[in-house]
Amino acid sequence: MSEQAVLEIKNLHVSVDDNEILKGVTLTIREGEVHAMMGPNGSGKSTLAYTIAGHPKYEVTEGEILFNGENVLEMEADERSKVGLFLAFQYPVAIPGVTMANFLRMAINAHREARGEPPITPVEFRKMLLEKMEMLGIDRSFAGRYLNEGFSGGEKKRAEILQMAVLEPKIAILDETDSGLDIDALRVVSEGVNKLKDQLGMGVLVITHYQRILNYIKPDFVHVLVDGRIIAEGGPELAQQLEEKGYDWVREELAKEA
């Protein structure tokens, strides 16, 4: 990797159906960094994630998103994926009739084509897929199952991380990947994320409500999003304090300062 990948979000305002949800978010994520984002329900965390990934429903009314200096807002969702951005969905959708293996092979080949590489050979693909499935404790049978169809909540989350492991992004956003995972699965999945982080120098934005995942994936920075604004930032201790004292505590602290 020649240069350090960096995702810069500057003064981002986002509306859905003319309702402003994000009201000026600024955030920079560099390769190898782990950021945690916490915030009450409805504060706009998923909105931020979808906007970065390029969901057409989310309209950016102000601000910018740059990836290695390039304007991400001008890219379609598939181009964003191909430059190295990845979103693990909070609620992944099912695609009936499309097997996981088939889908992943198409996706990998789309990425390869963008890099001017030839398609992956079936043998290579199978070997790689099975390795990653094993790493994440996913049964082989999932390769032949239809994408997310009939998957349990936890299975969907694991499948998201499998996709991440296969596509090897530079910056990954995990939107509540921990919710729905059982205790063992949370550990296995977190270890998988850490491995990718160490191997690839991937940067991660972990969106979560709970401290537990942060015990495994240790954040360098913690951001608190309330009502579309980042109202507090700090190190790992901030997450700890939030878990103990709740969001009202942050609000009160802010009020005191004001």
Binding site: D78, S81, P96, G97, V98, N102, A110
Partner: protein, 472 residues
């Protein structure tokens, strides 16, 4: 079945026009004059040297055709001008058993369509019909030795008159509907299959139907008799050149599935979008017999086709798997009919329709359970996928139950290609076109996976071809 090999998709980027839409110069041995009359019908019968009973059958059917009104339901048929159609065109002097003996231009057509190649690779027998007559017919010697008969229907009438007369017109009588009557009056070509008791034909038998002339009407007639405990899979494909005037294809297919036998009939219909495709397909299944219709309707301007299964013996089973794709200017009124006339009979109907660019696709089905058909079960699942707001899907499921102790299920879903699904796939790096293709091929996968590999590939190719240009 894996369907999205990138290379395959790239190969598909040829348009129908290039692949099927070409036409050859018309060099015919005989072409009846346009329009329909007793004289034309008698001429067809005379040209074929038919026995009297067949000539009379035709003339009776013609009277029925004239008397019956046009259907007032289904698709719009007002564009058909019965006086502006050629009802009989004889393309070659005689039928060939070797491709070398097929007239050069016609052979080239079938070469372009890949038929001789497919025959060598994976078929047990092939028939190729060009306009009104079957120009090539062959079956593996091995099957012939086992007593399997696979002929064009005209030759079968000559060579097996008794067997022919015993079954012909018994499943679909001319009075069944206006287009069955028309076919009965002017039929020509089609396949005749007889499989002796206990014989299993492991590789498919295939017929390919090609309309070449402008304003042509093709009226083939197919009759399949599967004797006790036998098995056969018959496949038909169809294409035509693109003309600005309309052509008519109106076939009748009759199938008799005897005790314990199984017949699978697969259609991959890819007529050009100037063809009215009005076909009557019906099977009777006796005790413990199984009849399966796999029906792919991709082409044509208008299709009205509802493959039927009459379950006449205890334990008979019927299966209809249907895919319809309606693009710009197309109306696919497809469906199925399952009639339970004996106890312990079961049927499954699965219909998938896709409409885009203002196309209209639908399911029209009837499940009937007669008194006494106790412990019968039927299940109908029809799913529609609509790709844009201009397109339309209709579902008309009719159920008529005259027996208490039965179970009938019906499930229908209509889905629009979801923004969420598209976004999900695109967020992994697939282009919008690839993402849409993937959703569509996933949608039809449950049916495509029932097809032998070669046809699954073909079906996917055709769907991909239809999908071309639907994005952007």
């Amino acid at each position: 079945m894996a369907l999205d090999e990138r290379q395959q998709i790239e190969l598909i980027n040829k348009e129908y026009a290039e692949k099927y839409g070409f036409h050859d110069p018309e060099k015919y041995v005989f072409k009846a004059r346009k329009g329909l009359s007793r004289e034309v019908v008698e001429e067809i019968s005379w040209m074929k040297g038919e026995p009297d009973w067949m000539r009379e059958f035709r003339l009776r059917a013609l009277e029925i055709f004239w008397k019956k009104p046009m259907p007032t339901w289904g698709a719009d048929l007002s564009g058909i001008d019965f006086d502006d159609i050629y009802y009989y065109i004889k393309p070659a002097e005689k039928q060939a058993r070797s491709w070398d003996d097929v007239p050069e231009e016609i052979k080239r057509t079938f070469d372009r369509l890949g038929i001789p190649e497919a025959e060598q690779k994976f078929l047990a027998g092939v028939g190729a019909q060009y306009e009104s007559e079957v120009v090539y017919h062959n079956i593996k010697k091995e099957l012939e030795r086992q007593g399997v008969i696979f002929l064009d229907t005209d030759t079968a009438l000559k060579e097996y008159p008794d067997l022919f007369k015993e079954y012909f017109g018994t499943v679909v009588p001319p009075s069944d509907n206006k287009f069955a009557a028309l076919n009965s009056a002017v039929w020509s070509g089609g396949s005749f299959i007889y499989v002796p008791p206990g014989v299993r034909v492991e590789m498919p038998l295939q017929a390919y139907f090609r309309i070449n002339a402008q304003n042509m009407g093709q009226f083939e007639r197919t009759l399949i008799i599967a004797d006790e405990g036998s098995y056969v899979h018959y496949v038909e494909g169809c294409t035509a050149p693109i003309y600005t005037t309309d052509s008519l294809h109106s076939a009748v297919v009759e199938i008799i599935v005897k005790k314990g036998a199984r017949v699978r009939y697969t259609t991959i219909q890819n007529w050009s979008t100037n063809v009215y495709n009005l076909v009557t397909k019906r099977a009777v299944a006796y005790e413990d017999a199984t009849m399966e219709w796999v029906d792919g309707n991709i082409g044509s301007k208008v299709t009205m086709k509802y493959p039927a299964i009459y379950m006449m013996g205890k334990g008979a089973h019927g299966e209809v798997l249907s895919i319809a794709f309606a693009g710009r200017g197309q109306h696919q009124d497809a469906g199925a009919k399952a009639v339970h006339a004996a106890p312990y009979t079961t049927s499954n109907i699965t219909s998938k329709s896709i409409s885009k660019d203002g196309g209209r696709a639908g399911y029209r089905g009837l499940v009937q359970i007669y008194p006494g058909a106790h412990h019968s079960k039927s299940n109908v699942v029809c799913d529609a996928l609509i790709l844009d707001p201009e397109s339309r899907s209709d579902t008309y499921p009719y159920i008529d139950i005259r027996e208490d102790d039965v179970s009938v299920g019906h499930e229908a879903t209509v889905s629009k290609v979801g923004e969420e699904q598209l976004f999900y796939l695109m967020s992994r790096g697939l282009s919008e076109a690839d993402a849409l293709n993937m959703i569509v091929s996933g949608f039809i996968e449950p049916i495509v996976k029932e097809l032998p590999m070669e046809y699954a590939v073909e079906m996917n190719r055709l769907i991909q071809l239809e999908m071309e240009g639907s994005v952007g």
